[in-house]
Amino acid sequence: MLLRSLRLAALSLVRQPTRAILGVLGVAAVGALLFDMLLLSRGLVLSFRDLLDRVGFDVRVLASDSPAFSAPPMPDATRLGRSLSALPEVEAVVRLRFEDVEIEASSAPASGDDRPDGVPARHVAGFIGAGTTARSLWTIVEGRDLSFDAAGDPTVIVNRHVGQGLGVGPGSSVWVRGRCAAGSQAMPPVRFTVAGIADFAYDSGGASTLAGRLEDLLRVCGAGGADVADLFLVRSRVGAGADAVAARIRQAHPELHVLTNEDLVERFSRIEFSYFRQLSVVLATVTLFFGFLLIAVLLTVSVNQRLGEIAALRALGLSRARVVSGVLVESALLVGAGGALAVPLGAALSFWLDGILRAMPGVPVELRFFVFEPRALAIHAALLLVAAIGAAAYPMWIVAVLPIAATLRREVVS
């Protein structure tokens, strides 16, 4: 029965190739957009979660629920760090401090003027003052990593943007002047040796970032607020779980704000990324409706043009179920072919759209807006199936209630 219906539907489509091709192309275009919106609806969240997990810490401790770079510092950080490390569920704790600094190559003109080629002599950069075991926050691409043991000259690692912008590399010297808290601008610049060039996990495209030891950051910013931290990254022991660690920290330090990676993802999904989620819902709904409309119109007009032919087939003995299922299969063929074409088309389109959105300032380089997951493919197929059935409903009804004798008579008379 199904094979017969399939043959009938295929013959109907082949007989009108222009119409069929346009139908398939139309479904492919709207299906590609629908597929992209499904990738966008969870892409940021998936990518963000992956980014957090890759750094290797599953709990973050801050002074407030403000974003990490704008939260107030936590005082008495040394004692706090020891307290966190002492928890039995905790495997590692990293203390971090973020400050804005000005960095210039030691070979830059003493006046601080821009270079003759127009390249700024100074960069305003974010300085990450890190305790030990912070290495998973960056990946060394040239030179060597920070040394937390040696007590020699202060060293920093810089990202590619700073390295290229200032023309410095491993072994170069740079001057770093703090733009930290009030009064720090009076601090003299500190000379650092660049240990290496690194990619930082949370860097955005044009970000200028460098990292050094906490004690070296204090030299840049002055002793004021020496024992403070902006963020503690905590890694739970295997088997303990982030939630258990977060609960223990909240119990021990109710004044602090503790977030697991899941909390962060949920918060970003609810607030920061909600615009894209809602945009994707709106556009997915519109494109799905558009696809439904396209197929419904194509099939309805096609059926209306073939009423005489359908009545003749019924008169020859084809059952109502077979003719009706033929219309349904015709819809499924159009949507199926268009939907199959939509997946590679949508994937290609998503690269283009992702490239546009990733140019947004402040977005980490590693973050993706469109992320493929099998779930998206399954939902895409299910939605198109619903659209195919919905679009076929009215033409199926026309065929089902078609009066055979009256239609044939009308055909003959006309």
């Binding site: 119409r19 139908g23 139309g26 704008s70 000005e102 009064g183 615009y275 396209l294 043009q305």
Partner: protein, 294 residues
């Protein structure tokens, strides 16, 4: 009631005090007419979310732990200036007079802090001089950053990027619509194959029929575009109200401007006409006998 000021920074004439939800758990709010108590303004969102009223006394502290709080009287509420960059975040803010803020956050052990501000807004006599003035300030005061407030059209600003993204989506939608339109026109023209044949038989030339199709396509495309614009205008209010409710903001998300209407007409009408012509041409170029199926 304890209100923590967790971060205090902004321009010289106002401050934004970001507050935590935990800081408002205690509902005991004092009311005072004591003129010695400094006043502050509280954002509408903060007033509503914490059930505060004008005249209430709240405690502010620069310490995350809430230590050393100082009382402030709520003198009024305000609607925060809509900020597209922060529309998804709750505007839980307060504004203090600068001396009050400095008194709240300054470290008594560091007198230099009392004379420190986060930023200074400057109004120039000639706004056109802003870029030159910013360069001059940066050169004379190393360590400061001076920027004109009327930012140049940065090709990577979030809204320019979003505009590009929306344009890309629009391009794909238009391609889909064009295919849909073409399919529809092919079917409509196909339905009129016999009529076209009859018209040709009674003497109408191809050129005449093409002109007729052109006029018909223009009329349909114009009517369709007009309907689309009217639909968009009708939906504008709905979308804005929904998103303003969703994000508790006065921001306008959707605005159908004359430029948008012009762009839509420029795109939709020619597209409709071309679709009509392409679809009709498949019939018109056929021999007469083929049209009347002889």
């Amino acid at each position: 009631m304890r209100l923590r000021v967790l971060a205090a920074f902004s321009s010289a004439w106002l401050i934004s005090a970001v507050t935590t939800a935990a800081a408002f758990r205690d509902p005991a709010i004092l009311r005072s007419r004591d003129p010695a108590t400094p006043g502050l303004l509280v954002s509408r969102q903060l007033l509503q979310s914490r059930h505060l009223r004008i005249g209430d006394i709240v405690q502010l502290s620069a310490d995350p732990s809430g230590a050393n709080p100082r009382p402030f009287r709520i003198d009024g509420g305000y609607e925060p200036t809509p900020d597209p960059a922060r529309f998804a975040q709750a505007h839980l803010e307060a504004r203090l007079h600068l001396p009050d803020l400095i008194g709240l956050i300054a470290d008594p052990a560091d007198p230099a802090q009392a004379g420190t501000v986060g930023s200074i807004n400057v109004r120039l006599e000639s706004p056109a001089d802003a870029p030159a003035f910013a360069l001059d300030v940066a050169a004379r005061l190393p360590g400061t950053v001076a920027r004109p407030t009327a930012a140049p059209d940065e090709r990577n600003s979030p809204f320019v990027v979003l505009e590009r993204f929306h344009l890309a989506i629009a391009v794909v939608t238009v391609i889909g619509s064009a295919i849909f339109l073409l399919a529809l026109m092919v079917m409509l023209v196909d339905e009129r194959r016999g009529t076209v044949g009859t018209l040709r038989l009674i003497g109408l030339t191809r050129q005449r029929l093409v002109l007729q199709v052109l006029a018909e396509g223009t009329a349909i495309a114009t009517a369709g575009a007009a309907f689309g614009i009217l639909f968009a205008l009708g939906a504008e209010g709905f979308f804005n109200r929904f998103f303003q409710w969703r994000y508790d903001t006065a921001l306008v998300f959707l605005r159908i401007t004359p430029r948008v209407i012009g762009q839509s007409l420029l795109l939709a009408v020619p597209l409709g006409i071309v679709a009509s012509l392409v679809a009709s041409w498949t019939i018109l170029r056929q021999p007469l006998l083929g049209l009347i199926r002889r």
